[in-house]
């Protein structure tokens, strides 16, 4: 007998689950269907199947520019956020130092600030120091909100890499740098890829901060947002957004599955090595 649920309750909960799934996916599916409608209005009546909205954006230079800017900003964000998250996570997991609680709180604080507040704050900062707004300022802002996610992706992975492996490397005479390069880093790679993809996705989709500090060279979400005033552009904009949606879902799901698989492999590999080293040390000690 399952103490968590009765038979009837089980059926009710499954219905609740599928109800939620339909609620979550139906709007997206309907949007995708109507993006093929041969009509200027994304709605009924259905005037036939067309791919013209999907072809139209190739001839919309402003849209392509915005996509390019978004790729640039997201790449810069992902590279910097991941690069900064590596030493930060190592310090938070492996090291003890004064004020660690405060530091980790500060590093994760951007998770709990309304983005509109961060957006106007950065706008005022860049105006005050006279730094011109552009893709770089947008990327700076995006790193602030992406880094906590990158850190939170790496920390659990680091915690699962037994410190004994690094100690073994140091005991065998490797420098700290070599230990990182040869032991920690290779084991960290799957989390690194996840952190990179998460940061990239956050930046690519981010509208609020970008709308304040990206300047005239707008990113794709800012462009899309501004086009909503022009109903005739809507079908084309939706078509592009659908394409991006499909790509991003594939990337995200693939990376989640990849992370899950590599987690299993890590446990198998490092568990064995750490056990051997542990018994070796115990024997010698």
């Amino acid at each position: 007998v399952n103490p968590a649920i009765s038979k009837g309750g089980r059926r009710t909960l499954w219905i609740a689950f599928w109800f939620l799934v339909v609620f979550l996916y139906a709007p997206i599916v309907i949007l995708i269907i109507f993006s093929f409608n041969d009509s200027e209005i994304v709605s009924f009546p259905w005037l036939g199947f067309t791919l013209r909205w999907y072809k139209a954006f190739v001839h919309a230079p402003a849209l392509l520019d915005a996509l390019q800017t978004s790729l640039l900003v997201a790449t810069m964000t992902a590279v910097v956020a991941t690069a900064l998250a590596i030493p930060a996570s190592i310090a938070l997991v492996r090291r003890r130092f004064f004020g660690k609680g405060l530091v980790s709180g500060l590093m994760l604080a951007p998770l709990v600030i309304p983005l509109v507040v961060l957006g106007v704050s950065l706008l005022i900062l860049f105006n005050a120091i006279g730094f011109p707004l552009g893709p770089i300022t947008a990327a700076i802002g995006h790193v602030v909100i992406a880094m906590p996610f990158a850190i939170l992706t790496m920390v659990p992975r680091l915690e699962r890499i037994p410190p004994a492996l690094e100690e073994a490397s140091r005991d065998l005479g490797a420098t700290a740098m070599n230990t990182f390069r040869l032991i920690t880093f290779p084991l960290l790679v799957p989390a690194l890829i996840s952190a990179f993809l998460i940061s990239f996705t956050i930046s690519f989709d981010e509208l609020v901060i970008a709308s304040f500090i990206v300047g005239d060279q707008v990113t794709f979400p800012v462009y899309l947002y501004s086009q909503l005033r022009l109903p005739e552009r809507l079908p084309m904009v939706i078509a592009v957004a659908v394409l991006i949606l499909i790509v991003s879902v594939i990337v995200v799901v693939a990376s989640e599955v990849g992370r899950f698989l590599s987690e299993r492999r890590l446990e198998a590999q490092t568990g064995m090595a750490a056990d051997e080293y542990g018994s070796l040390r115990a024997g010698k000690g």
Binding site: P3, A4, I5, S6, L13, A16, F17, L20, F23, L24, Y25, P27, I28, I30, L31, F34, I41, S43, F44, P45, L84, A85, P87, A88, R95, V103, L106, A109, P110, L111, L115, V116, V117, L118, V120, S121, L123, I124, A128, I140, G141, V143, V144, P148, L152, V155, P156, D171, A176, T201, L207, V208, L228, A241, I244, L245, S248, V253, R281, K284
Partner: protein, 308 residues
């Protein structure tokens, strides 16, 4: 011989390590920390200073003046639109309603996945979460396409004759309802995650113990499961409340005049009316509200539950 030799090698790096520790710690944490200080902490302090005119940036700014705060706290309208406290409370109510709705919608599903679904639970959880990982703007846009007077829903209702050809359902679009619905839609997947994590770490033996001691399933839920999952519920609540309190994108896309929120007046004081000081005062006020919220609920929060 061999054992002694190993002993030496083991001992050697230890001393070397200890000496360099402080420097290594500083080296590891300095750049990421500097980034957060420069581009997070400093700007927030700067906004507070700017709202009282310690520094001025655009021509409308008043040097060393509490005018922006007075405007915000005392006047009920500004440039013809409702302002300040009224909109702030409207946003608070909206965020509260959305957070509670999300928790109520997500809890049974998280419960089902964590305690009933068995081995498929992670796959099914991914099914729930995936929409959250896709474009926010597109998901809001989807509802504009569904809800607007000539959108999919109302046209379909006209098609089957439920709605007259000329009539529209005005409550459905450009309304407070539309904002509420779309925000709840957007945040439900995110809420499921921390509740799932809290429920999953529940020891099933405790539920068995409870039922062995004669408690009904409902009593077990009320007295054991629910209290133990509260940290997840609170985390979920806070992590929906905070982003939605500053929301201006969704109100602008599906909310119209009726759905205008506090975030919108902040945004438009920077992009339309160019009263940056007023906008800053309101941003600082919002941040203060969030800080109070975190001070109350902070100890229940485990940020990890939302990221793993």
């Amino acid at each position: 011989m061999a054992a002694e030799h190993t002993g030496e090698v083991l001992a050697a790096p230890r001393t070397r390590r200890r000496r360099g520790t402080a420097k290594v710690n500083l080296g590891l944490i300095s750049v990421p920390l500097l980034w957060i200080v420069l581009f997070f902490l400093v700007p927030v302090v700067l906004v507070a200073l700017y709202s009282v005119g310690v520094l001025t940036l655009i021509s409308y700014d008043k040097y060393l003046s509490l005018q922006a705060w007075r405007d915000f706290l005392h006047s009920s309208t500004y440039l013809g639109s409702p302002l300040g406290r009224g909109l702030f409370w409207k946003s608070m109510k909206m965020s509260l309603g959305v957070s509670i709705t999300c928790v109520i919608l997500a809890y049974p599903v998280a419960y089902m996945l964590a305690l009933v679904a068995g081995r498929r639970k992670y796959t099914l959880l991914l099914v729930i979460i995936t929409p959250f990982l896709t474009s926010y703007l597109l998901r809001v846009l989807a509802w504009r396409v569904l809800l607007n007077p000539h959108g999919v829903i109302q046209e379909a209702l006209r098609g089957i004759g439920v709605l007259g050809d000329e009539s529209i359902l005005s409550w459905m679009y450009n309304s407070i309802f539309a904002v509420y619905l779309v925000l709840a839609y957007a945040w439900v997947p995110f809420v499921a995650l921390p509740i799932f994590v809290a429920l999953e770490s529940l020891d099933l033996q405790m539920l068995e113990a409870s039922s062995d001691l004669g408690a009904s399933r409902w009593t077990t839920f009320r007295r054991v499961t629910l209290p133990m999952s509260m940290p997840g519920v609170i985390a979920a609540f806070v992590f929906v409340f905070i982003p939605t309190i500053g929301e201006f994108v969704t109100p602008q896309i599906v909310g119209g005049k009726g759905g205008y929120l506090f975030g919108n007046v902040i945004q438009s004081s920077f992009s339309a009316s160019f009263d940056w000081q007023l906008g800053s005062a309101m941003a600082v006020f919002m941040l203060a509200a969030v800080t109070i919220l975190l001070a109350i609920f902070g100890r229940y929060l485990n940020v990890r539950t939302v990221a793993e």
